[in-house]
Amino acid sequence: MLQVKNISCKIGEKEILNGLSLNINPGEVHAIMGPNGAGKSTLSHLLAGKRGYEITSGEILFKGSNLMEQSIDERAKAGLFLGFQYPVEIPGVSCMNFLKSAVNAVRKSRGESEMDSLEFLKKVRQEAKKLNLDDSMLKRSINQGFSGGEKKRFEVLQMALLEPKLAILDETDSGLDIDSLKNIAEEINLLRTPERSFLIITHYQRLLNHITPDVIHILNGGRIVASGGFEMAEKLESEGYKAFGIDTDVEVN
């Protein structure tokens, strides 16, 4: 599904990723943990196509194609989804219009017919209900006036509607209370299929208690320093990053 091969990148003169490699197969759930400044969000935005990153070495293949040659929307249409750590507020653009445009843009690229308004409304309501998102919220502008939890649930709603092949969730658990966390985890679990992969970026074990990942990676200094099973998250939670030889008192990069 996703092959990141020895990738290094920088923003301006600052090197953020330093020879990072990662291989995610269809249906696998990978989690990335790491201290602040390790490069976790950079990796997610690099994959999504945000401008401003200069790749100095390596390559990234998504479903066998060179991801770096694709524009942001081409990546989304190919099935890559990024759930933002800080979802953007866009005044004036209603959630409903935006969701419909996005879903239809993706469907069109897959050769599927565009959904009509009624069909779409039904689908949105169904998914929103699972996430305890009120219909009235969807009439508002994108993320405007949403609480932290609502923003994250709206991200998961978009993921559910866009049906991606690979979903990257960048700290989707931050800012959530326990009930919201469980609710979101349940929705993510429902979306797990043998074909769909996930890359979950998190600081804490708590989300991983609900979504059992296949592999956990520890990212530090722009590269993966350790990979393993769920026991790594437990070790991290009890012993901290020092257990992996990472000194979090020293600012990385």
Partner: protein, 427 residues
């Protein structure tokens, strides 16, 4: 009591007064020309290019000029090159077409005109109005009786048909709404660009005068889609009495140079003035909105909320000037102007000016000028929208935030269609 009967004791001698006013106006214009940039309300806009033959009144075209379909159920008045095409119009009975001769024969028309003019004439040093006064031969005059509510909107189409002549249209619309009357007025401006001659095809100079008596209400919509090689100079004076309401929405998209000047004199308590508008600029267009409001009475309300979307090398001016004089306590006045610059070469000039000379008021003013937000564009693109689609959705939403509030569904629909066409033109 009618606004007219108040003046009935005064001898109705508007005919000779108007004749001399027109003659003086022409002389004044010939002496002074158009307002210059040292005149503060004209700081950002020059009409110096409007000169010579172009100023001459245009003839009525020989061929029939096709009009756009009016919105369902509207009264419809067709005006081509400044000439009212009565045979194609469906006028409400309250509307008359007055010229000097007609007004002189009909005393009540003369009194109506006299009342409107006296209430809305504060045109000192406004030579762009002088030239109109001098050249506009016929005036559309409406006298809406006390308590009359016209359910159907009145739609006036000002159409430019240049017929290879580079000339000007001069039109005037005078409205007196008696107490408790209520109408919806839609003014639409469009037409053809010059086919053979280069440069400016046409100029349209229009003056609207409105007198709103106690508790009268006017919903006023303007849709300016004039050809992009024309000048559009629009001036309106609105006089508001106690508890009257003036709601306006201006959709400004056409013309090479457009001036939208609306003066509101609030001379009544509990009067309510709400002005909104969306301006779309592209290529080398220049749009100027000058909106002075004077709260002459205490306890009145005004609100200005305008948005400009500027692309290409276009320029957009918002100059809202709200004056709250001494003793106008309990005034509430708000001004807001948001500008979105779509290109690097577009320019916005924004000046929400609020002069307050009393206490006990609620007033606010604000303005923003910005580009399309990169983070928002990125966010939308990560959901599968192309860069063009993402920009279009943001541009459309920026304008629709105001257009969605338009109460008349027919004109709202027209504005939305026009906006979508404008956005598609940017592919």
């Amino acid at each position: 009591m009618s606004a007219i009967t108040n003046n009935a004791t005064v001898e109705a001698d508007f005919f000779s007064f108007w004749k001399s006013t027109r003659s003086n106006a022409l002389q004044n214009f010939n002496n002074k020309g158009f307002p210059r940039k040292n005149n503060e309300p004209w700081k950002y806009t020059s009409l110096l290019g409007l000169s010579g033959d172009l100023l001459e009144p245009a003839a009525r075209p020989e061929q029939n000029t096709q009009a756009n379909s009016p919105i369902n159920n509207s009264f419809f008045i067709k005006v081509v090159n400044g000439h009212i095409v009565i045979e194609d119009s469906v006028l409400p009975e309250e509307f008359r077409i007055s010229d000097l001769e007609a007004a002189h024969k009909d005393e009540s028309s003369e009194l109506v005109m006299k009342s409107i003019f006296e209430n809305t004439n504060n045109d000192n040093f406004q030579t762009h109005i002088d030239i109109n006064t001098a050249y506009a031969n016929k005036i559309l005059v409406a006298h809406i009786p006390k308590g009359k509510c016209l359910e159907k909107p009145i739609e006036i189409h000002y159409i430019i048909n240049p017929e290879n002549e580079q000339k000007s249209s001069y039109t005037q619309l005078w409205i007196l709404q008696e107490a408790d009357s209520n109408i919806t007025l839609i003014e639409r401006f469009y037409g053809d660009a010059a086919k053979e001659k280069e440069g400016t095809s046409h100029a349209h100079n229009h003056v609207t005068r409105v007198q709103l008596e106690k508790s009268a209400s006017l919903n006023h919509y303007r849709m300016q889609e004039a050809p992009e090689d024309s000048y559009q100079i629009y001036t309106a004076h609105v006089e508001m009495k106690d508890e009257s309401t003036y709601n306006s929405f201006t959709f400004c998209k056409g013309a090479m140079l457009s001036r939208n000047e609306v003066k509101v004199n609030i001379n009544g308590t509990k009067a309510h003035c709400n002005q909104q508008g969306v301006t779309l600029g592209r290529h080398k267009q220049h749009h100027d909105s000058y909106l002075p409001v004077i709260h002459n009475s205490p306890d009145s309300y005004s609100n200005q909320n305008f948005r400009q979307l500027l692309d290409g090398s276009s320029k957009g001016v918002f100059y809202g000037s709200v004056l709250v004089p001494k003793d106008s306590i309990k005034t509430e006045a708000h001004q807001l102007n948001h500008n979105l610059l779509i290109s690097d070469t577009a320019q916005a000039f924004t000046r929400p000016e609020l002069d307050i000379f009393t206490d006990e008021v609620i007033c606010s003013h604000g303005a923003t000028v910005g580009n399309l937000d990169d983070d928002s564009l990125y966010y939308l693109q990560t959901r599968g929208l192309s860069e063009h689609q993402a920009k279009a959705i943001m541009v459309e939403s920026f304008a629709n935030e105001l257009i969605d509030g338009v109460k008349n569904e027919g004109i709202k629909e027209l504005m939305k269609i026009s906006l979508t066409k404008w956005i598609k033109g940017h592919k």
